[in-house]
């Protein structure tokens, strides 16, 4: 709009003709219309005529308003112009800067390009030197073998000699370089494994929002195993490449025989598997420094399963793969047989599983111990409930059952025996067989209690607290339950109970028997231990009057 010119044209009388020239055709039309000197926006604007007209036509109010409006317009136009000017100048300046920067960058790039060219030249020069030197050796080698220098020209682009090489031993430089490379790969594998373990521990320890399930152990195990195996395969591929690319070396007998066996199979694969077993097993030997946090039980379980899987299948898979890619010599140095590695893996798995049982057993046992040590067994009142700690024990053991079940198969349970003749001697037994005991049993002579408990022992098998744990869920759970109940027994024997204390033990024992028997491989184990707890509690009681069995059942049902 011609407002720009109008703003600056408030005091200029020669506004007409330059604008006409400037604005060209648009104003030509306006010029064809009647030239109106009072049109403030027109090309023929005449301020005198305008002012006369306005003075005569408009009332004062209108005049003042028009003046104010004009003033505003002028200021607005002014600032617009300034902004436009400023922006235009800014654009020019930044454009200049950019161009300057580009100049500098291009100068740098030029310098680097020059360096690159120099390096490439140097590399191709030394590469030419190396292949020249080796060509010399190959030629000499071919000569020694009796093949003429002419045969050497059958080399392909990689410089591979088509002729055979005599078994005059490995080039020590090459051998050392290869071994160092393999060592580096081994260390990288070890670091990778430790990194994976760290991730697993973090995943296990991460706080979860309530209601959301934590990472499943099978998933974590699958990820860990797959990552490690993947990395191992990748490393083998790299080594394969190393031997393939510098195939000038690869045809040396060292690479065909000893390298495959010593460096790759033994120095890398076997060494890594051994290290993995040792490291996993190390978690079962307690923390490195006293006071450092011990490994979480889930980790122990996971590593046990990993080692077991290694023993079952992974080791033979890895060894087969290695042997395929790096075929061993028949007359080469001795190899570690696969079964030996599998034995190491199994030993590690066993140790980890035993330790898991110990740790979890100790955790449950600690709850039971505290509950027995802190209670006033003499002054306690008649029991109305099962003690809360027993419910927690059942909950914890159920949770452990779930955890172990994620990674290990169920196992075999001994069928429930119908032979209940031995129940007759469990005088204070909290078994489900009602009416099998006398309500108020008091021994008439010291021999009787002793004789009874000895006869009971004759019929029950001696419970071995720490028979080695097998790789199935019921065996693990049985081990944990045995430790817990044995602890309960030992703690009860250290206290003195009143009549109601004994009855509370009776109620608690029945509750445990109701809910724990299904976790054990043989319910007689649970029964036997609980019987011993009851018997010891009776011995430690000042006034042993057991509760009616029906009442015990009622209390346990109520929960």
């Amino acid at each position: 709009m011609a407002a720009v010119t109008a703003g600056s044209g408030a005091g200029s009388g020669a506004a007409g003709s330059p604008e006409a020239r400037y604005y060209g055709p648009a104003t030509a039309e306006a010029a064809e219309a009647a030239p109106d000197p009072t049109d403030i926006n027109g090309p023929h604007f005449d301020p005198e005529a305008f002012m006369t007209k306005v003075r005569s036509e408009c009332p004062l109010g209108q005049l003042l308003a028009r003046e104010a409006a004009l003033g505003r317009e002028i200021r607005a136009l002014d600032s617009d112009m300034q902004t436009l000017l400023y922006e235009n100048y800014n654009k020019f300046i930044s454009a200049t800067d950019t161009i300057r920067k580009m100049k500098v960058d291009f100068r740098h790039m030029e310098a680097e390009m020059d360096d690159l060219a120099a390096n490439m030249a140097a590399i191709s020069a030394s590469s030419a030197r190396v292949s020249a030197a080796l060509q010399e050796r190959h030629r000499r080698g071919a000569q020694l073998a009796g093949t003429g220098p002419g045969r050497f020209t059958g080399a392909d682009q990689w410089g591979v000699s088509r002729g055979g090489c005599p078994p005059w031993g490995a080039d020590p430089l090459v051998a050392r370089a290869a071994r160092e490379r393999v060592d580096r790969y081994l260390r990288a594998l070890q670091t990778f494994f430790l990194g994976c373990l760290g991730d697993v521990r973090q995943a296990l320890a991460a706080p979860r929002p309530p209601g959301k399930e934590g990472p499943g152990l099978p998933d974590l195990l699958a990820t860990l195993a797959a990552s490690v195996l993947g990395q191992l395969k990748a490393v083998l591929a790299y080594v394969q490449l190393f031997t393939a690319r510098d195939v000038a070396f690869a045809s040396l007998p060292y690479f065909k025989g000893e390298f495959c066996v010593t460096a790759v199979r033994e120095g890398l694969v076997v060494a890594f598997v051994r290290w993995l077993c040792r490291t996993a097993r190390g978690f079962a030997d307690g923390p490195a420094e006293r006071g450092a946090p011990a490994a979480p039980p889930a980790l122990l379980l996971l590593l046990a399963r990993l080692c077991l899987d290694y023993e079952n299948s992974t080791i033979s898979y890895i060894l087969t793969l290695t042997d395929e890619q790096f075929p061993p010599q028949d007359s080469g140095p001795a190899v570690t047989p696969g079964p030996a590695l599998c034995a190491e893996a199994r030993a590690a798995a066993q140790r980890l599983l035993d330790h898991y049982v110990q740790v979890q057993g100790a955790a449950v046992a600690q709850m039971l111990r505290k509950s027995v040590e802190t209670r006033d067994w003499l002054g306690t009142v008649e029991p109305r409930n099962v003690r809360a700690v027993m419910k927690r024990v059942v909950e914890d053991i159920t949770a452990i059952d779930v955890q172990v079940g994620q990674l290990f198969e169920e196992g075999v349970r001994r069928a429930q025996s119908s032979d209940s003749s031995r129940r007759a001697f469990s005088v204070y037994s909290s078994s489900r067989a009602p009416g099998r005991y006398a309500p108020s049993y008091t021994p008439s002579a010291p021999m009787d209690t002793h004789l009874l408990s000895n006869i009971q022992k004759l019929f029950s098998e001696r419970i071995d607290i720490f028979s080695p744990v097998e790789f199935n869920k019921v065996s693990v759970l049985t081990g944990i339950i045995k430790i817990s109940l044995k602890t309960l027994l030992e703690c009860v024997r250290l206290r003195t109970l009143g009549r109601f204390g004994l009855q509370q033990v009776q109620v608690d024992g029945h509750y445990l028997q109701l809910y724990l028997w299904r976790f054990a491989s043989d319910e007689r184990v649970v029964q036997g231990l609980l019987d011993e707890v009851a018997a010891s509690a009776a011995h430690r009681c000042l006034d042993p009057v057991p509760m009616e069995h029906s009442v015990v059942e009622l209390i346990c049902e109520r929960g």
Partner: protein, 387 residues
């Protein structure tokens, strides 16, 4: 006769307390205290005739309560101390007292255990150890090789040293120390070191082992977290003055050099449940006896940390550590630590094992069902050590 077979004696009650008759160095004799809440408690004096492999017993009545700990005077064959429970309807208090047995029983008798006319005799109470101010007594220790006048008792978190005066008719508290700290601290057991002129004791509380100087009643050293769980028992190596062994509920036995308490010198993990007792053999400190609630007694050969790691040297009876090193030229391979034997004659938790003070190759073990088993070190090893 090649007779390493164990000899078994059964008490009719539960029992936990066992001690050799310390002052008796000719005849093999042990004392066992019973734990019964409904019948009069007894102390059985077990006399072992090792020529005929038979046991003779005498029974003393200990009517004041069930016995948790028993120990005998090193000077007077007839004097012993017991820790027993005094029960009322609302409270149980463990007290300690010093007793004298009838004169004729001091040197044993020849009544066979089948003798039905076993006339039980009574103990003569000499004095009580007044613990109204201190708490439940855990154990009473006599000053080793002392004159039988000084004893130390552990009561809750207190160490109490007593002087027995007027022929042990009076016990006067001569000094005491208390373990400060949060929570209910309680000593589980203690042992008086035979070294340093009998001025040091070691105590176990919770998972810590502490050493104390009895002259100042101050703590000298502390082995924190000696075991992962409760420490049950301690014993000092009779031949190496800075070495002690501890055992606990983490199923382990650990050996310590008290000059460096950060790491155990050796750890044994042969038991599968709580280890209640550990005992060094009085003469040959490579023989370690341990009893556990897994019902087993294990005899271990801890040669590498004993005073004779390279076997018996013909000329030297008192070898110190430094002398060992000087003799390296004439030395054969150091022997390996190993488990010598596992004794499985018990069917219930073993709460006490003790070496005899008369025969260094013989020991007794006691399980909760009242079974006392007397066993020997296997002959082959005995000759190997001696020759």
């Amino acid at each position: 006769m090649e007779d390493d077979a164990p000899v078994i004696y059964g008490l009719e009650f539960q029992a936990r307390a066992l001690t050799p008759q310390t002052a008796e160095t000719d005849a093999i004799r042990f004392l066992v205290g019973t734990q019964s809440l409904r019948y009069d408690n007894q102390i059985h004096i077990i006399d072992f005739d090792d020529e005929n492999n038979i046991i003779n017993k005498n029974v003393l009545l200990h009517q004041v309560g069930e016995i948790w700990h028993i120990s005998t005077s090193p000077a007077d064959k007839g004097v012993l101390a017991t820790c027993y429970n005094k029960t009322s309807d609302t409270k149980v208090m463990t007290c300690a007292a010093v007793w004298r047995m009838p004169k004729e029983l001091e040197s044993g008798s020849h009544e066979s255990p089948d003798d039905s006319s076993s006339n039980t005799q009574t103990l003569e109470l000499l004095c009580h150890l007044d613990n109204t101010a201190h708490g439940n007594m855990a154990c009473v220790m006599w000053e080793p090789m002392g004159d039988g006048k000084k004893i130390i008792s552990l009561a809750d978190n207190n160490i109490l040293m007593w002087d027995l005066q007027e022929s042990s008719a009076k016990a006067v508290l001569s000094s005491s120390a208390a373990l400060e700290g949060k929570g209910q601290l309680k000593f589980t057991s203690g042992r008086w070191s035979p070294h340093h002129n009998c001025t040091q004791i070691a105590t176990a509380n919770d998972t810590a082992v502490r050493g104390w100087d009895t002259r100042s009643m101050r703590q000298i050293y502390c082995i924190e977290n000696a075991h992962g769980q409760l420490v049950r028992d301690l014993d000092f190596n009779p031949n190496k003055q800075y070495y002690l062994a501890s055992c606990g509920d983490d199923c382990k036995v650990k050996f310590w050099d008290t000059r460096n308490v950060t790491e155990p010198v050796k750890t044994l993990e042969e038991h599968s449940h709580w280890v209640w007792n550990v005992r060094y053999n009085h003469s040959h400190d490579q023989l370690i006896l341990t009893g556990s609630s897994d019902s087993r007694v294990i005899l271990s050969n801890m040669v590498s940390i004993s005073s004779e790691p390279f076997g018996h040297m013909v000329d030297d009876d008192e070898l110190s550590d430094q002398e060992d090193q000087h003799q390296e030229e004439k030395i054969k391979e150091p022997l390996q630590d190993s488990v010598i034997a596992t004794y499985e004659e018990h069917e219930d938790s073993v709460y006490a094992v003790e070496w005899s003070s008369a025969d260094p190759w013989l020991f007794a073990s006691l399980s909760y069902d009242g079974r006392l088993v007397i066993n020997r070190v296997p002959r082959a090893l005995k000759y190997h050590i001696l020759l």
